[in-house]
């Protein structure tokens, strides 16, 4: 399949989103709101969750299921408040010995006036520094669109899983085509060149494991996709729980330190 076709699948509004995973994967979910500074961002949500008997903090981008939700959540484009809320919830997880599971699905961090004024850059930067040092396991699943810094801000984990038809990229194919091809319509060429599919990213060492989606992709087989995510997340948590905290953080540092290492 061409990369641009996978981009279309990753963006398919019928794909399961955050609250579909909550419904399909969790026996319990207690959402916690707000960053304790200014807002409750609907584009990035989270709370206490129980997945297959495992208590954890689950958080992720929320694209919303209805038009009102889409708008309230900026289609999953988080504001700085979202990243600050994520850090707050991860602090809770660390303090009470719960692992963190993140679901990544965003076109990118929200490009807005207030987002800049409240420090979008600082919020993402801080989240990267913060996740790298968090003393509790972090399992990341790229479930749809992994859009640039807005995705990475909650994707620095011990295990990075990626759905078969998800994409993860430094820039959207359209954005890249507009700059390097000077022609936004060359998105298909840019998508190919950027190497943004799960198979490419596994080869590049950015993704640890590809999660199969079932027949015709997650939009057509949401139950299979969600069940597969649940299975892989639980397996990853089981493994990570065995490591002591210092070892865990040291390995996480080593994992990202090796990405693009100069030889």
């Amino acid at each position: 399949m061409k990369a641009i076709e996978i981009v279309k699948m990753a963006r398919d509004p019928k794909r399961p989103h955050f609250f579909d995973y909550v419904k399909g994967m969790c026996s319990d979910f207690e959402e916690l709101h707000g960053d304790r500074l200014a807002k409750d961002d609907r584009g990035l949500v989270g709370g206490f969750a129980t997945i297959g008997g495992e208590k954890c903090v689950l958080l992720g981008h929320n694209k919303g299921a209805t038009v009102e939700e889409n708008v309230a959540a900026n289609f999953g484009m988080a504001n700085p408040d979202g990243y600050r809320k994520a850090m707050r919830l991860m602090t809770l997880a660390e303090k009470f010995g719960l692992p963190v599971v993140t679901l990544v699905d965003t076109p990118g961090a929200y490009p807005g006036r207030e987002a800049e004024e409240r420090g979008q850059a600082e919020a993402i930067a801080k989240s990267l520094e913060f996740c790298a040092a968090l003393k509790t396991p972090i399992v990341v699943v790229i479930v749809g669109e992994g859009g640039s810094g807005g995705a990475l801000a909650i994707a620095v984990g011990d295990r990075v899983l990626m759905l078969e038809n998800a994409v993860y990229s430094v820039i959207s194919p359209e954005g890249c085509a507009g700059i390097l091809w000077r022609d936004g319509s060359k998105a298909a060429d840019a998508a190919e060149a950027l190497k943004i599919t799960a198979a490419d990213l596994k080869r590049l060492g950015v993704v640890d494991e590809i999660v199969p989606e079932g027949a015709n992709g997650a939009a057509k087989s949401p139950k299979t996709a969600i069940a597969n995510v649940k299975k892989r997340v639980l397996a990853a948590l089981k493994e990570l729980k065995k490591l002591d905290k210092e070892e865990l953080v040291a390995r996480r540092y080593g994992k990202f330190r090796a990405m693009g290492r100069f030889n």
């Binding site: 420090g119 850059a121 520094e129 040092a133 100069f262 030889n263």
Partner: protein, 276 residues
């Protein structure tokens, strides 16, 4: 024959652009010698122009104390990237030749006011100061060396953001540099981040914003998303001073705005307060 002499004389006058620098902000004509002597700062509007990495380092390091490290780390073309105008490898090779630099950041050890530091500066003239894997590797090594040798890190940023030609691995440099900066800070060592024109995109959203002290030059552009992208998203005009150093200071993300001529003294004083 006077007309001939006149014509010859006219032909010997260097073109205006060799004598005058036009300030990109206020349009003032400044004699080139004066412009360069001021490390290009406009005498009329105080515009702080872009500097090459080594010129900036010369401005900050005690004379003759800078020793470059990790110069062997260069760009990598992990994706064998091609776009409409050709191969990344050819473009970056041409940049290496033109600038004489191997990457968009130059790093080394130096003394500042007699204090041993790790000192680095990004070079906007190297592919827009973009954050490639080589850039990230040099910054990570700088952090690790700073920890090993107990040196503060002073880093000047100047970047358009991630280097698209290196795809996802460019994005990952945001994570690994931020992790390395976190380690440095956790080791009790200072990170002084100097934001210069421009500090945007993935560099602003990683190490550049993580200073124990973030100091910016006057009027420089600092921001995550581009002005045009934001205007197209919110369908509003943004104020003219949006994403300037002054705007960032007002909103609480820059500790202080310091003129270029005072930068070194400010950094040295800050390090004194931090116990160095």
């Amino acid at each position: 024959m006077a007309w001939l002499e006149e014509m010859t004389a006219a032909a010997n006058v260097p073109p205006a652009k060799d004598l005058w620098q036009v300030c990109p902000r206020c349009g003032a004509y400044v004699p080139k010698a004066e412009w360069n002597a001021a490390n290009p700062v406009c005498p009329r509007c105080n515009y702080h122009g872009r500097m090459k990495a080594r010129a900036r380092i010369a401005l900050l390091a005690d004379e003759g104390t800078f020793a470059e490290c990790h110069a062997d780390v260069s760009y990598s073309d992990h994706l064998a990237f091609h776009d409409a105008t050709g191969a990344y490898k050819d473009k970056v090779e041409a940049t290496v030749k033109k600038t004489g630099e191997g990457e968009s950041v130059t790093i080394g050890t130096a003394l500042m006011g007699g204090i041993p530091v790790m000192l680095g500066a990004m070079n906007f003239f190297f592919m827009g100061g973009s954050l490639g894997t080589g850039t990230g590797e040099r910054i990570c090594r700088a952090c690790e060396q700073a920890i090993a040798e107990r040196r503060p890190l002073v880093l000047c940023s100047a970047s358009g953001g991630a280097r698209m030609h290196e795809g996802i691995l460019s994005l990952m440099q945001m994570a690994r540099t931020s992790a390395a900066i976190g380690k440095l800070k956790a080791a009790g060592l200072p990170f002084i981040s100097i934001l210069t024109d421009p500090t945007t995109g993935g560099v602003s959203a990683s190490y550049a914003m993580l200073g124990d002290v973030n100091v910016a030059e006057p009027g420089v552009l600092i921001g995550f998303a581009g002005r045009r992208v934001i205007e197209n998203t919110i369908h509003q005009k943004l104020p003219p001073d949006f994403q300037t150093a002054e705007y960032l200071e007002q909103h609480g993300f820059v500790d202080k705005i310091v003129e270029r001529k005072d930068l070194k003294a400010f950094v040295v004083k800050t390090l004194h307060y931090m116990g160095f």
